[in-house]
């Protein structure tokens, strides 16, 4: 690889600023007392405190997973701040009450809380560190009976719904990080689409980790009742710190009969610098339950950030004729490590799933796809199609694929395709010899590679993802 290809990947992290706002933090470290304190600060009911404590007690018995193809120094869970919230009053009724400094941060991030979002048709629930700052367009959504608010608000306003569904897809004992999240989650989004309602706009949450040394443990819960439809967008950034921050989120989706949930993520957490210093450890559990017949859950993710990504958005296809989809682009550069993929668990009859995974590795990064397709004994007529493609940029990165298929039913069809390619000198030279500059060439090659995934993103996200990949790869090709 000539030096020119190596130049195209590197652009300083654009979201690396810290907002100077007084923050109220609970002392670092984890204990039952800290959990009680978090629960008390949030004014939670007793059942939720019990949920947390039982998760914590279970977590104490568990071990940090070691099967992923990632390596990092042991995490000292007593060094983490589990709760941080901006000091100005956390209860904000209108946008005018939002701290101006905070508003400027969102403007820098390009998350305007103003009218343009209405024009874009996006309702935003913004998580800043651990407190949901404001939820826009709640009223408009409320007309349709849609609940879209922070999880803590939902605990107060709709306790029966939260109690019914929280932990129903990802039980607190599911895995090490899910247990940790269940014990200490501080904020997140809640979304409920009642029977027969088609959500009139895309719902969006923008996550950002601000306080140095703080973990972010948000928890998102989306429920689509019979025949309901919703498209949910999640964007993530974090400022630049030299220390590693832990982000251990849980996302649970529940789709009842004929419901349709589309969940799209563009993740651009700080990835650390080119020497691998700093960056987010993104250890996330995302799972959707297609509970009803003919229900559908579709995950689309563009993962470009984080020092380490450990994430497997999955679908449990319980209802007959339910459909699960996973479309993923994971890009790693420098010393980033990504171990990501999906699980499709076919339980019901005639369930179908599609997996399209595109891994792009540059620099000295390691990028792995890990997937499980499981077809149970009752899943007559189940079908899965998987496609895993890897692209390498340069000679120092690696791509790995770990597909697992378990079929317990003879009347199922499972297909798997995989490929590995390289942005080579010859491809770049083809573009150059037709007069096309390097950046345009890389952008076109990468977007071509990711086309099968980008076509599933909402339009504005697809545009953002395209730009983001271009920025992330600046300097690495050439």
């Amino acid at each position: 690889m000539s030096t020119t290809l190596q130049h195209l990947v590197n652009q300083p992290y654009r979201h690396g600023f810290v907002t100077e706002i007084e923050t109220e933090v609970v002392p670092k470290g984890l204990s039952e007392d800290v959990i009680r304190l978090i629960s008390e600060k949030k004014g939670e009911p007793e059942w939720l405190l019990e949920f947390r404590l039982s998760a914590y007690r279970h977590w104490l018995t568990m071990e940090d997973p070691s099967w992923a193809k990632v390596s990092h120094p042991p995490i000292d869970f007593q060094e983490i701040i589990y709760f941080a919230q901006p000091k100005p009053k956390p209860q904000l009724a209108s946008m005018d009450e939002v701290d101006p400094e905070l508003r400027r941060t969102f403007e820098k991030l390009g998350v305007p809380l103003h009218e343009q979002k209405i024009m874009a048709g996006v309702a935003v629930d913004v998580i800043f560190d651990s407190v949901s700052v404001t939820t826009t367009y709640k009223a408009k959504l409320a007309e349709e009976g849609i609940v879209f608010c922070s999880l803590s608000e939902a605990v107060k306003a709709h306790p029966e719904l939260v109690k019914q569904y929280l932990g129903s897809v990802v039980p607190p004992s599911d895995n090490f990080y899910a247990a940790l999240n269940s014990a200490v989650f501080t904020e997140g989004s809640f979304c409920f689409i009642p029977k027969g309602v088609k959500c009139p706009m895309d719902l969006s949450t923008y996550f950002r980790i601000n306080t140095e040394g703080s973990g972010q443990f948000e928890r998102t819960l989306i429920i689509a009742e019979e025949g309901a439809q919703v498209s949910y967008l999640e964007g993530c950034t974090a400022p630049q710190f030299d220390t590693n921050q832990l982000h251990a989120a849980v996302v649970e989706l529940v789709a009842l009969d004929h419901a349709d949930i589309k969940y799209s993520t563009v993740q651009n957490w700080y990835a650390g610098d080119e020497k691998g210093v700093g960056g987010i450890y993104n250890f996330v559990t995302k799972r959707g339950l297609c509970r009803g017949v003919n229900s559908k859950i579709s995950w689309t993710q563009v993962e470009t950030g984080s020092a380490i990504t450990w994430k497997y958005p999955s679908c449990i296809l319980l209802g007959d004729h339910s459909v699960g989809e996973f479309y993923s682009v994971a890009l790693t550069n420098h010393l980033q490590q990504a171990d990501t993929g999906t699980k499709m668990v076919h339980v019901g009859k005639h369930t179908r799933s599609t997996i399209v995974s595109k891994g792009i590795s540059a620099g000295k990064s390691a990028n792995s796809y890990r997937g499980l397709v499981k077809i149970g004994p009752r899943a007559v007529g189940a079908r899965n199609y998987s496609q895993c493609d890897s692209m390498l940029i340069g000679d120092l990165c690696s791509a790995n694929t770990y597909p697992t298929v378990e079929v317990q039913n003879e009347q199922a069809v499972v297909e798997h395709e995989a490929s590995t390619s390289k942005i080579g000198e010859d491809q770049m030279f083809l573009f150059a010899s037709r007069g096309i500059g390097q950046e345009d060439a890389v952008s076109m090659i990468i977007n071509g590679f990711c086309r099968d995934v980008f076509m599933h993103l909402p339009l504005e996200f697809a545009v953002e993802a395209t730009k983001l990949l271009g920025l992330k790869l600046e300097g690495s090709v050439g």
């Binding site: 000198e425 030279f429 083809l430 150059a432 010899s433 037709r434 007069g435 076109m444 590679f449 086309r451």
Partner: protein, 250 residues
């Protein structure tokens, strides 16, 4: 001023010297054939002129319309009117042929202050140009060269030439791997693009291409140099007598 003037060009790849002093002069309106055995340096000469990064120029100079070619990056050479039709066109999965062709066309237009075309306008243009190589328009919607046969790839190269209208087109073994029908189509395409304003260099092993695209000059390369130059009769003589007598004379 010559269109292309190559003086004492030396180049190497991976430290191995391949071109050892090439002299070549080309005027507008001319068609040149460069022949020679494998390893004589023909393809290296094409790639060095187009600026392939794997090759290092170690001596000599090349002037393109009076500009020092080696001061131009590969994409600038292309925008200046130099075109290389590849011997082995690469595939670009997921990138539609029409999007690629349009980007190339518009980049060139932008560089010379011409009019860039939107997808619909470009579609009209490309559907006209594609007739030159008798290609099915369905190839426009497919990924660049992906799953194309050898002949289809070569036709696609000539389609690019037709769109970009270069001043100097270098066809690197465009005839290799073509059956006789495809050879005829490609040759007809190239002939239809010949004009007084442009020049064509064909790099080839075989005489048969030259039956279709008749050259004004035939050069024989051997050991990294042009050792003999003649007219089309030289190609016929090579076909009959082989290369040994030229090598012996060199």
């Amino acid at each position: 001023m010559k269109l292309l003037d190559v003086k004492g060009l030396k180049a190497s790849v991976d430290g191995v010297s391949i071109l050892k002093g090439v002299d070549l002069s080309i005027d507008r309106g001319e068609v040149h054939a460069i022949m020679g055995l494998n390893g004589s340096g023909k393809s290296t000469l094409s790639k060095v002129l187009a600026g392939h990064p794997a090759y290092t120029v170690t001596g000599g100079e090349v002037w393109f319309e009076g500009r020092n070619l080696f001061e131009l990056a590969p994409e600038e050479r292309a925008r200046a009117g130099l075109f290389l039709a590849f011997q082995y066109p690469v595939e670009v999965p997921g990138v539609s042929n029409s999007a690629f062709l349009r980007l190339a066309y518009n980049t060139l237009q932008a560089s010379k202050g011409g009019e860039e075309l939107d997808p619909l306008e470009f579609d009209d243009l490309v559907r006209e140009k594609i007739k030159v190589v008798e290609m099915d328009p369905a190839f426009l919607d497919r990924s660049v060269n992906e799953g194309f046969s050898g002949g289809e790839k070569k036709r696609n190269e000539i389609l690019q030439m037709a769109l970009l209208e270069p001043k100097l087109a270098i066809l690197d073994e465009t005839d290799s791997g073509l059956d006789i029908d495809a050879l005829r189509i490609v040759a007809n395409g190239v002939n239809s693009l010949r004009s007084k304003e442009n020049a064509i260099v064909m790099v080839t092993h075989y005489q048969r291409l030259l039956n279709y695209i008749v050259p004004d000059y035939v050069h024989v390369m051997h050991g990294g140099r042009i050792v003999k130059t003649g007219d089309k009769g030289l190609a016929l003589e090579l076909e009959e007598r082989g290369y040994d007598w030229v090598r012996a004379a060199a």
